[in-house]
């Protein structure tokens, strides 16, 4: 006979107490899973909405983050002029292939024509500072001698993803590029020693990986720091018009001469070469830049999505945050309630078993065995409660959550469920352990 055998029989014997503890765990886990799933689903919905607004690349001011942008912390003075950018979209294979093709070039696909190379957009990345964090973009520091992002392997790319940031080591202002500089680049995109327009520092590019509810990477969102981009490309802004900067950057990024793409790296890229041969890139450039150009020329352009996106995204994001905060308060309350119930019943359970534990201490067991027995019981109830709670939380979220909430959640959901179950059960159980560890068999037997 093992201790677990006694534990399982005791759970069945004191089924009412066990049921109350199980119920408390199920309540806590179910609530947390429900809230987590609803929130996740709402974020997905917001993301889908943003995707629908067709802006995946935003040129941000260096002081700003995406969170600022979405939460409305961005004052109008940050954007005296239209600040946003190109409509591009990419997916990991394209990004990886671009890295394979040329270490400092990323290719994006057009959302309306994701499979058509004629609509791909290439972004030349020219180094980055090491101080990258998701919420801060600071003056880049040059990391002398940093390793080149030289691998062609996809996992190497992942190695350079720090949080949501793609870190491309900068070689230093005087370093020779490891990869042959594309000779056909327009002047404002050229870099290297002696190029005064490069002296301002490296560019900084942030890549945000977006995952769907199953955890699969859906796409990458790329953010380019506007100020760094200005310095990188050494652009001047006539009359302080940022729009022109944007246009210049995008033009510079896009304006690769047809046929040049296959000279950038060792491996030819059929798609780009074909696109270049077809001369379709320029059409894509023209199409992408048209709204910005019209805006820069002071023309009305209802099709420029950036303002609509910003306002609507901000409103939705704020609504989501507000709802999330309310739900988090509810979750916290339920967690505290659940922990109190579990703790109370844990102590009650030990008191119910006071004599039984005293006898066990008298005939064979040590306090450690009683503690193991007690914690094992709570662990079993925590796991059972976690599984049941996760299932109920998922079902209720699918039933009453936002439209499109899937019944099956990600592994993270179930990991969270088990974690909550263990925390809400095992921590309060320590109260029971404390009581159990103070049982004196002699006193117990004397009371018998």
């Amino acid at each position: 006979m093992r201790i677990r055998h006694i534990v399982l029989k005791e759970i069945r014997h004191r089924w009412a107490t066990s049921l109350v503890i199980l119920g408390a765990v199920v309540l806590c886990v179910g609530t947390i899973v429900f809230i987590y799933r609803v929130r996740q689903s709402s974020m997905d919905e917001l993301q889908r909405a943003m995707d629908g607004m067709s802006t995946n690349v935003v040129l941000l001011h260096e002081d700003l983050t995406l969170a600022d942008y979405l939460s409305g912390n961005v004052g109008e003075n940050h954007f005296p002029q239209p600040h946003a950018a190109v409509t591009v979209r990419t997916d990991p294979p394209v990004l990886e292939r671009a890295q394979t093709f040329y270490q400092r070039k990323v290719t994006f696909t057009h959302p309306d024509h994701p499979d058509d190379p004629a609509y791909w957009v290439e972004l030349v990345l020219c180094g980055v500072g090491p101080e990258v964090g998701e919420t801060s973009v600071v003056e880049p520091r040059i990391s002398e001698g940093a390793a080149e992002l030289g691998s062609t392997a996809a996992e190497k790319l992942e190695d350079h993803l720090v949080g949501n940031m793609l870190v491309i080591p900068y070689q230093g202002p005087d370093a020779q590029p490891a990869v042959r500089e594309p000779t056909g680049l327009p002047p404002h995109l050229r870099r290297g020693p002696g190029d005064r327009r490069q002296a301002g520092g490296p560019a900084q590019v942030r890549v945000r990986r977006t995952r769907d509810r199953t955890g699969t990477i859906k796409d990458y969102m790329v953010f380019v720091d506007l100020d760094v981009a200005r310095r990188l490309y050494g652009l001047t802004e006539p009359d302080g018009d940022s729009t022109q900067t944007v246009i210049n950057v995008v033009e510079g990024v896009l304006a690769l001469a047809p046929g040049e793409a296959d000279r950038y790296g060792d491996a030819p890229d059929d798609g780009l070469a074909a696109a270049a041969a077809a001369g379709a890139e320029r059409d894509a450039i023209a199409e992408l830049l048209e709204p910005l150009k019209r805006r820069a020329e002071g023309l009305e352009n209802p099709g420029l999505a950036v303002y609509a996106m910003r306002g609507e995204a901000r409103a939705r994001h704020q609504a989501l945050l507000s709802r999330s905060q309310r739900m988090e308060l509810v979750a916290l309350g339920i967690l505290i309630f659940g922990a109190l119930v579990v703790g109370g019943y844990a102590v009650l359970n030990v008191r119910q078993r006071h004599k039984e534990m005293g006898v066990m201490l008298a005939i064979a067991a040590r306090p450690k065995h009683l503690n193991i027995m007690f914690l094992e019981k709570m662990f079993i109830l925590a796991l059972a409660g976690g599984v049941i709670g996760a299932a109920l939380g998922s079902i209720t979220a699918a039933q009453w959550g936002p439209p499109g909430t899937a019944l099956i959640g990600s592994w993270a959901t179930y990991g969270l469920a088990i974690l909550v179950a263990l925390v809400v059960t095992m921590l309060p159980s320590l109260a029971g352990v404390f009581v159990a560890s103070h049982i004196d068999p002699a006193n117990t037997l004397r009371d018998l």
């Binding site: 006979m1 029989k9 014997h13 039984e356 005939i363 040590r366 002699a442 037997l445 018998l448």
Partner: protein
Amino acid sequence: MLDVQNVSKVYGHNRQAIRALDGVDLRVNRGEFVAIVGPSGSGKTSLLLTMGGLLTPTSGKVLIDGASFYDVGAPARTAMRLKYCGFMFQTFHLIPYLTAAENVMLPLITTGMNARSQREMAEDCLQTVGLEQRKDQKASKLSVGEMQRVALARALVNRPALILADEPTANLDADTASLVIDYLQTFKAEGIAVVLVTHDDRLGQVADRIVQIRQGKTVAPSDSKELS
């Protein structure tokens, strides 16, 4: 085998102090049947618990096979208890949701013995007390007499050299009490020392020695013949 040397036990402090045992000396040999008698509150149970390594004395020593119970740490004391002692209680104290066999196995669960050996030993002991047919019955479904026999089997399962029993016949009818007394005599004959606390005259009659205790002190020992 068991040597109680000048043991005292004081509960509480200062003015509330109660001296339950006051310089008790007692020696129990293998195969000896000792009955401890005395009025309520005289310290019988305290003495029994002290002898079993469950109640640390305020002063004095309890030696079992020459090893001091209370000069070692709690884990070692538990191991000594498991090696030398079997316990019986007035109200049996079986775990109600376990079967008779599982209750008997309880002292073995921390020994590392495999489940099959545990079960075989438990069934042997149940056979000894005539309960092999009831081995899979839940303890809560057993009669009072059967419960005490299961408790007896539990006290035997670790093959102790000493059985300590607190009023083992107090809750039993005359026939069952006689049966338990017979079993205890059988164990004595097999070389197991039996020390019990009792008010039962029949147990006094079968004991080799009666130790009377009053106000925590042993009164002049007498043998069973003198009592009868």
